[in-house]
Amino acid sequence: MRPFAFQRPDSLAHAHELTVPEDATAVAGGTNLLDLMKLQVETPERLVDINRLGMTEIQETADGGLRIGALATNTATANDDRVRADYPVLARAILAGATQQLRNRATTGGNLCQRTRCYYFTNIDQPCNKREPGSGCGAIDGIAHLHAVLGTSPSCIATYPGDMAVALSALDATVEIASPDSDERSVPVRDFHLLPGDTPCRDNVLERGEIITAVTLPRPVKAKHLYRKVRERSSYAFALVSVAAIVAVEDGVIARADLAFGGLAHKPWHDARLSELLVGEAPSAALFDKAGDLLLEGARGYGENDFKIPLARRTLAAVMAEATETEI
């Protein structure tokens, strides 16, 4: 870890001011950032501890949704009675991630900003365009077991590794961001993370000095909520593929199908066409296959991770079968 100045702002305005400089980074739970600082993947000269800024509340919104403070811990969110009752896909996704010890520290905002687990990103003696623009990508010709099959670019095939954001994407949540020189702005979580393109160093839309203040969930809907995470051990492992699903069936046809996928791309993957395809149709194996075709029509494997394409298709089918109580 490189030396840094430790700063603790006492207000949001102060936090903006401290985090505007290029060499400053905000820390909340620290479970990802400190890990990367020890590896010198992250080398801030100023570490701005925003933990004392409040923002831990989970409150109902005027339109019947829920606003989760950026500094609410994953544990607090997953165990909030309203989350458990009305947004179980979110509770399930959080509980499927990491461990209790980590969830006790990890925060809503920090989790959204979690960086990739790509082995080449975390090893500073290897090429990585995300860590060091222009240095190349070690994974494309290397070990790409964990890597993306959707939305990749020649620069980067890394995945966003989290679970919570996948559920937030299915829920169509909104990220509230406080900017240094303007009012708050709101970004749909589906637009918060970026695809790698030519600038894989950018994970998300946050600008310097901006701080996530909350995530807002829309009004709850009556539907089945599922989060399915496929992993190599039964706990404490990142997803090979995960599916967040909010699905309702009425009168034998699918009335709602909000799906998002983890482990497949540089961001939680949401494809609005899936919902269009599924809604109004009677659930069947053939329909789920079609959904799989649509989801994966642009998918590309990199050898080691080719398996994710059939795995995503099969997991999608399994989740839809469970959600619609269809035998396939």
Partner: protein, 729 residues
């Protein structure tokens, strides 16, 4: 005084059974238990030494080449930095188990990605870690280092080669044959305590607190590395946070700490980062194994062939002994065994728990399952039919053989269905359910050992050796053996281990610790009993001791009359090791579920039945078996070292991406211990148990996967991607 026993003959007296204290074999709690659960047991990095400087190893980001320059000034001006050392005596690989000499030194020559080339020392850990990352080093790279074991011409390990009879003819005339290639990937020991050492000099005397399995060999390895006399070195390793082979020999931090402490004139601690532990200690070699089995109609083997390709760095003698139990586990007149090693530039391959059988047995036992299917013989019955009466290659008798009992009793307890077997017969929701089984075998080893036992005038005893307890329960079983022989409860036996100021033990490795050190303690105690018998006016064989007294007679305190008596027991394996084949045997049974959509496998139930001679402590022995079964789950489902194809570096060099099993991976686990006395194995009739529990268990899981879903996999670990790829439609 000292007493010596070189075992050339079976020891059938079973003296421990005739003693009156009645504690050997009992499920007593560990004597070091409270120290461990309260966090007061000191591990290597935790000795309170004043004024310790912190060293961090610098490692090379190249595969092969030379260090051409190190710009020490690039870090010497950083806050707190005290020194940068690239002394040519720094070691660059871990020593192999029982090496007894320095491992490779010469840090300027790089042989694998991640090799240590220097050590940076600073006042604090943070300063040293940062400086180590900043050190400017230039290299001359030697391109083209071979990285793929299949792309080089391998070397045959000729002492492993067997050509007996005519295998091709056996294959040609067989009613049933199996001809299959099975691969395993590399494994890491991943002991929870990273390798660590604190070195302290007093004049020319060096003390090193380190995490070591075998101080009795490590002292010579360190002395040779530093060019010193062993008599000027003391190694302390009282608690070891797991070894599993990775701490058999000294590794790079120990020599680095010693050199740095000398240079700086102050104690130096060097602790490896977790990534360094993965990158520059032992790996278990990946293996590619070819098995050919030829049987008659009833599944009785006539031909048996097992070839294995493993890898190691140039210059390393160790070759994963994949075939170790294949030489004698099953019959078959016509035999071909061959082990080859490919020279490639990955980090040193060496011992990881149960070297050989840990990967050889999982392959062999899948082939046996295939033969069972082809011949229509129940898998348990197939094994029973192929147990040889004598070692089929060397025509030696077995010292004891519990395989048949383990198979039969294990099958009964597990509820094994010996009816016809077909895949995909049971489904629960998304999950296919299946069962599988496999034999277990692990060669038995013993090593020379000494222990100093003192019976004090107050009726307590002290046992001292440089033997270690790496979690195996040595402290406890040593106290039990001494207490049994001397007729005192274990609370009155103080056991002092892991310090080379005491007599040389055998070290912990190859499952030989308990039988070897236990025998040394036994020999010492027998001699002490002679003295006591003399004082009591009786013969040693007639002397009954219990709870600190001669039964019906004087107390020990009275007999000793203010005097301490002591003996050094010296046990040596003798000719008997050449006249018998000694092995632990067992059987595994597994019930698994495989998700028909995702290919995920979960082990619902696993049972292991094991025969390993005398059980010295039912509780700690069971724990060893449980640990082995847990490792079996890792071998079967999750553990694989992944190497970059371009530069050979280990990509998953941490505990997030190298998947050792977690608590939830281990569901219902059951252990049966088949008590026996093996008079050949050791004077205390005990064999090793630290490794047997993982020698074949992975195959029980693999065979259960096949039975559950019809996917026959030929590569471990059986991760969801591989299961899906092998699923029949």
């Amino acid at each position: 005084m000292s007493a010596h026993l070189k075992q050339d003959e079976p020891v059938t007296s079973n003296r421990l059974d005739g003693m009156k204290q009645g504690i050997v074999g009992q499920p007593l709690s560990r004597v070091d238990g409270l120290a461990k659960v309260t966090g007061t047991a000191p591990y290597a990095a935790e000795y309170k030494i004043d004024n310790v400087a912190e060293g961090v190893l610098v490692t090379a980001p190249i595969t092969r080449g030379e260090v051409t320059s190190i710009d020490k000034d690039s870090v010497l001006s950083m806050p707190g930095v005290l020194a940068v050392l690239d002394d040519e005596r720094l070691t660059t690989r871990a020593a192999q188990g029982t090496a007894n000499e320095a491992p490779k030194q010469d840090p300027a020559t790089v042989c694998y990605w991640g090799q240590p080339i220097a050590v940076v020392v600073a006042e604090t850990f943070e300063q040293a870690r940062d400086a180590a990352k900043h050190l400017k080093v230039e290299y001359r790279v030697h391109e083209g280092a071979p990285l793929d074991p299949h792309q080089v011409a391998p070397e045959e390990q000729e002492d492993e080669t067997v050509n007996q009879g005519d295998l091709d003819a056996a294959m040609a005339r067989a009613a049933h044959t199996v001809d299959v290639e099975i691969a395993t990937e590399g494994h890491a020991s991943a002991a929870m305590e990273p390798h660590a050492a604190i070195a302290e000099w007093r004049d020319d005397k060096l003390t090193v607190y380190a995490s070591l399995q075998m101080p009795n060999y490590n002292i010579a390895e360190l002395a040779d590395s530093l060019g010193m006399e062993e008599s000027n070195i003391r190694l302390v390793s009282r608690y070891v946070g797991g070894g599993f082979g990775s701490k058999l020999g000294i590794s790079e931090e120990t020599v680095a700490a010693a050199i740095a402490a000398r240079e700086l004139g102050q104690p130096v601690r060097v602790v490896m980062s977790r990534q360094q532990v993965f990158q520059c200690i032992m790996r278990r070699s990946e293996t590619t194994q070819k098995l050919r089995l030829a049987s008659d109609e009833e599944g009785k083997l006539d031909g048996f062939a097992h070839h294995a390709l493993v890898s190691n760095l140039p210059g390393e003698e160790f070759a994963e002994p994949v075939l170790q139990s294949s030489h004698f586990l099953y019959g078959g007149e016509n035999r071909q065994l061959k082990l080859e090693v490919a020279r490639i530039h990955r980090m040193t391959a060496g011992s990881v728990r149960a070297p050989g059988e840990a990967v050889g047995m999982p392959a062999l036992e899948v082939a046996m399952d295939m033969l069972a299917e082809k011949s229509g013989v129940d898998p348990v019955e197939l094994r029973l039919r192929n147990i040889p009466d004598r070692n089929p290659e060397e025509d030696l008798p077995f010292s004891s053989h519990k395989l048949a009992d383990c198979l039969r009793q294990g099958a009964e307890k597990f509820g094994w269905d010996s009816g016809p077997r077909k895949p995909r017969q049971q489904r629960e929701g998304e999950w296919w359910i299946g069962t599988g089984m496999a034999s277990a075998a692990r060669v038995h080893n013993v090593g020379e050992a000494k222990a100093h036992v003192t019976l004090k005038s107050d009726g307590t005893a002290v046992v001292q050796s440089d033997m270690t307890d790496i979690g195996t329960g040595t402290y406890t079983i040593v106290a039990q053996i001494a207490g049994e022989m001397l007729g005192i409860p274990i609370e009155k036996v103080l056991v002092e281990l892991g310090d080379t100021k005491h007599p040389r033990g055998p070290g912990s490795g190859g499952s030989w610790g308990a039988a070897s050190i236990g025998s040394a303690v036994y020999v010492a105690c027998e001699a002490l009993r002679e003295k006591l018998a003399h004082r009591a006016g009786t013969s040693e064989t007639e002397l009954d001791l219990r709870d600190g007294s001669v039964v019906g007679g004087n107390s020990l305190v009275e007999l000793l009359d203010g005097e301490d008596i002591s003996e050094v027991g010296h046990y040596e394996p003798g000719e008997i090791a050449d006249s018998h084949t000694a092995s632990g045997f067992g059987a595994f049974f597994a019930k698994v579920r495989v998700n028909r959509f995702t290919g995920e496998t979960r082990v619902d139930h696993m049972l292991g039945a094991f025969g390993f001679g005398r059980v010295l402590n039912e509780k700690t022995a069971r724990s060893q078996c449980l640990g082995g079964i847990t490792w079996s789950i890792g071998v079967a489902l999750t553990e694989a070292l992944l190497f970059d194809p371009v530069d050979g570096h280990l990509v998953n060099c941490d505990l997030a991406e190298y998947h050792v099993p977690v608590n939830r991976d281990v569901q219902d686990v059951d252990v049966m211990m088949m008590e026996e006395r093996d008079p050949v194995a050791s004077p205390i009739q005990a064999k090793g148990i630290g490794e047997l529990g993982m020698c074949g268990g992975a195959a029980a899981i693999a065979n259960a996967i096949y039975n559950a879903c019809g996917a026959r996999l030929f590569q471990y670990p059986m991760t969801p991607d591989r299961v899906l790829a092998a699923l029949p439609d």
